[in-house]
């Protein structure tokens, strides 16, 4: 009988067991990033910037040089590295609290300067690490530990859409929102990541892939229910797709 | 000396000290401090001294701006251009960025013949230590101020280390630049402590340091 490898762990990740809760999509996203870096042969020349959030330990998981950044500051740290080591591939891995709240200035200005870096943005509509508080991306009505009656617009405004926001920043180059709730979408998400690292390799500027992600633990749902909740609630508010592709019409693209 | 002298140049070239010296030595009516570059050591710090000498100090739109870095220049700064009875010296902030403030007064300047626009040069400032750098600076100053430079002031010094040879070296380099640009050296300023009987280019003046404290 012919054997077929159906699953092989990616060399893009170390053999440290991932710290994420079972069914949390942070794990899938890690695997995709690891695979893309490995397949593109970039691991040897990459620096990954871990942010503060559930992915704080990601510097232990990505099998490349890593640096751990303060909450929200990963794009500034990436800027520092990329400017002095322009040949290295540099990416940040950030949650929605990290990127859309405390690190809003750093992400907007990294895009604004057109930093040639890639951002992996994991939007789970909540502060996972600190125990499920409201994030700027939390949906209206969504209950969190700091919006116990459900997020209400009068008090907290409307959820921020970061891909749409960054698309208005003239310096950004490639922005796409993806999801990892089923194999088809996972394949699509991987393509998006490949594109983003391509953009960086071709020195075309700032790229970000926003992942719709889940937090079963803090959402208080089974992993399966949380995937369905993301499809039914998050994706309608955060539609998937390419929000900006400034590489089109470019000879190098 | 023309009715109005405007001093420009690199920062730290000695414009403010020279402005105060000229105002006192020539009994001018006003000193206009338009320095929007430096936060300290501006001619406005010498308010008491100037006023004691009957010289009006025109500076900012905010009272006692000696401690501020707000660039608010006073509209009164245009008075000498309009009132031909006034003899005045203008002290601009350093570099082309300081000189661009003159654009605010362009429409008031009626008679350019009454104005000397002088570039203060100290060749011991690394940014103006060669004729070609000085020439380039003059071009930049003219571009942002929209006023033609009419001459140079040689203020080459190393403060307490200054001696005759430094003034001479300054004159040599400055003459090279002045020659290329076909401009005169209008004044040479000589540090108070340098005892010399030599004659240097232009009007020779003593430089008394009013802004720098003894311990600086």
């Amino acid at each position: 009988m012919k054997t077929q490898t159906v699953y092989k762990p990616t060399g893009g990740l170390t053999d440290r067991p991932l710290s994420y809760c079972p069914g949390c999509t942070h794990g899938i996203i890690h695997k995709l990033v690891g695979e893309v870096l490995e397949e593109k042969g970039l691991l040897d020349e990459t620096v990954a910037i871990a942010s503060v959030g559930c992915s704080v330990m990601s510097y232990e998981f990505f099998n490349c040089d890593t640096q751990q950044a303060a909450h929200g500051r990963a794009p500034a740290v990436a800027t520092g590295i990329k400017r002095v080591r322009p040949d290295a591939t540099v990416f940040t891995y950030q949650g929605d609290g990290d990127l859309a709240s405390i690190g809003m200035a750093e992400i907007v200005h990294a895009a604004h300067r057109g930093e040639n870096i890639t951002v992996v943005f994991v939007n789970n509509a909540i502060y996972g690490m600190t125990g499920g508080q409201m994030a700027p991306t939390t949906l209206i009505g969504q209950k969190t530990t700091t919006s116990p009656r459900g997020r209400d617009q009068g008090n907290t405004g409307l959820p921020l859409r970061m891909s749409e926001l960054l698309a208005t920043v003239p310096g950004s180059t490639y922005l796409e929102r993806v999801s990892v709730h089923d194999p088809k979408h996972i394949r699509k998400a991987k393509k998006a990541l490949e594109k983003a690292f391509d953009v960086q390799e071709k020195k075309q500027g700032f790229s970000m892939i926003e992942f719709i992600s889940t937090c079963p633990v803090n959402w208080g749902m089974t992993p399966n229910d949380s995937l369905n909740w993301a499809v039914d609630n998050l994706i309608p508010y955060y539609p998937l797709g390419v929000y900006k592709d400034a590489t089109k019409g470019d000879d190098n693209a | 000396m023309k009715r109005i002298t405007i001093l420009t140049g690199h920062y730290g070239s000695g414009k403010s000290e020279i402005a105060i010296n000229l105002a006192i030595q020539d009994e001018l009516n006003a000193l206009i401090d338009l320095d929007i570059i430096n936060p300290y050591f501006r001619s406005r710090s010498a308010r008491k001294l100037l006023e004691a000498n009957g010289i009006e100090l025109i500076e900012s739109t905010i009272e006692n701006s000696a401690g501020s870095d707000l660039p608010f220049i006073s509209a009164k700064g245009s008075r000498p251009f309009v009132n031909s009875d006034l003899r005045a010296v203008y002290d601009l902030g350093g570099t082309k960025h300081g000189a661009k403030v003159m654009m605010q007064f362009r429409d008031f300047i009626k008679n350019r013949d009454e104005i000397d626009f002088l570039v203060v040069v100290n060749i011991y400032r690394p940014e103006t230590d060669q004729a070609k750098k000085i020439i380039q600076m003059v071009e930049e100053l003219e571009a942002t101020s929209q006023i033609r430079v009419t001459g140079f002031i040689n203020n080459s010094n190393l403060m307490e280390y200054t001696d005759e040879s430094m003034i001479e070296e300054g004159e040599r380099i400055l003459k090279e630049a002045a020659g290329t640009l076909n401009l005169p050296i209008v004044y040479t300023f000589i540090e108070e402590h340098v005892k010399t009987t030599k004659r240097y280019a232009g009007d020779n003046r003593v430089l008394i340091r009013y802004l720098a404290k003894q311990w600086l």
Partner: protein, 355 residues
């Protein structure tokens, strides 16, 4: 090379280039603007990096990134901006990275003013960031000394893998003084930065991690003890100070930076009057030069601390003094720069038999 006349900020910027600074990240604030302005023009000429960041917070985190990638990095700011950088400084220390930070101090608290001050003494020597750490902190007095220290600081930062702060008050940033920018300074023998996380793991054959997170308290304690050992080494080796006219002094002024310049003037005049007065001038404010106080002669009865702040360094003098001498204090704040005559009056007031 011969001396040139430079403005303090400009001289520090040029000294950084001479000291091998690869990259600068900063944000405008008076009275240090000439540093980024100068570097924005000149770093490019040397093929080096200049970035105006969106804030001091971003700037220090860019420093953190670039230092982690093995570069020699500089940032500069003034007091309120340094306050914003404290988070990043703590991360840089925690990750054991070298960096040089210039603080051209102005009056505070809050937006304060733009005139010269030494009100950041605590911010510089105690730090505003979290955790058990210190910066090697210099407070030079003349532009020549400042330039020499800026050049050396890149070596010192690399040697200790710890940030170095150069704290000057606005006067030193803004004043003009002749300097020899190429004067030789002592250099350290440095190891290669094999720890840098710079995207060359392929060549290196292993990955590097730059991290300040240690979730196991025993592990974190061990890390803290390792840092402590470096601080002990600094206390032992890096104390710098100058003893001025102390040999037969009865009163000794303790003053640093511009305040020491003013004190020098006062001492010169007082000595002409026959008053036996000298100065201890700390050149490092962390480590505080305790050794200087052990060198004082028997004749001393009083230490007069003078600051352009209201008794911040005085705390260190108290710690070091341990009851040895009578302690007196004179300070001006908010950007007011005292005259030499004020210090002379203070000295006269505290002479034995005065009043």
């Amino acid at each position: 090379m011969a001396k040139v006349l430079m403005k303090g900020n400009e001289a520090m910027a040029l000294a950084a280039i001479k000291g091998g600074c690869d990259a600068f990240f900063g944000y405008p604030i008076t009275p240090q603007n000439e540093i980024p302005e100068y570097l924005s023009y000149h770093m490019q000429e040397h093929g080096r990096v200049f970035v105006q960041a969106e804030s001091e917070v971003a700037a220090i985190n860019m420093v953190y990134g670039a230092a982690g990638a093995g570069a020699r990095v500089l940032t500069s700011s003034s007091s309120p901006g340094i306050a914003l950088k404290q988070e990043g400084i703590s991360y840089i220390v925690g990750s054991e990275l070298p960096a040089v930070i210039i603080n051209v101090m102005r009056g505070g608290p809050g937006l304060g003013g733009i005139q010269p001050s030494q009100g950041d003494y605590n911010q510089v020597t105690r730090g505003g960031g979290n955790g058990d750490y210190h910066l090697l902190a210099f407070a030079p007095e003349t532009l020549q000394e400042t330039v020499d220290i800026v050049k050396q600081s890149f070596d010192l930062a690399d040697y200790y893998r710890n940030p170095v702060m150069i704290a000057v008050d606005g006067l030193i940033g803004q004043m003009m003084e002749p300097v020899d920018i190429d004067k030789e300074v002592e250099q350290k023998t440095l190891e290669e930065k094999t720890w840098a996380s710079d995207g060359t793991s392929g060549k290196r054959g292993r990955v590097n991690k730059i991290v300040s997170l240690h979730l196991d308290p025993y592990d974190l304690e061990k890390h803290n003890l390792k840092l402590k050992a470096k601080y002990d080494e600094m206390v032992e080796k890096e104390q710098r100070y100058e003893m001025i006219d102390t040999d037969d002094a009865e009163i000794v002024i303790v003053a640093y930076g511009s305040m020491a310049r003013i004190a020098r003037s006062a001492v010169k005049e007082l000595r002409n009057e026959g008053v036996k007065v000298g100065i201890i001038r700390p050149i490092t404010i962390w480590p505080f030069p305790e050794k200087a106080f052990d060198e004082l002669p028997e004749s001393v009865h009083t230490l007069l601390t003078v600051e352009m702040s209201l008794g911040q360094m005085l705390q260190d003098v108290k710690i070091v003094n341990q009851g040895r001498y009578q302690l007196e204090f004179y300070g001006r704040a908010g950007g007011v720069v005292p005259e030499a005559s004020e210090i002379m009056d203070q000295v006269r007031k505290h002479l034995k038999g005065a009043k």
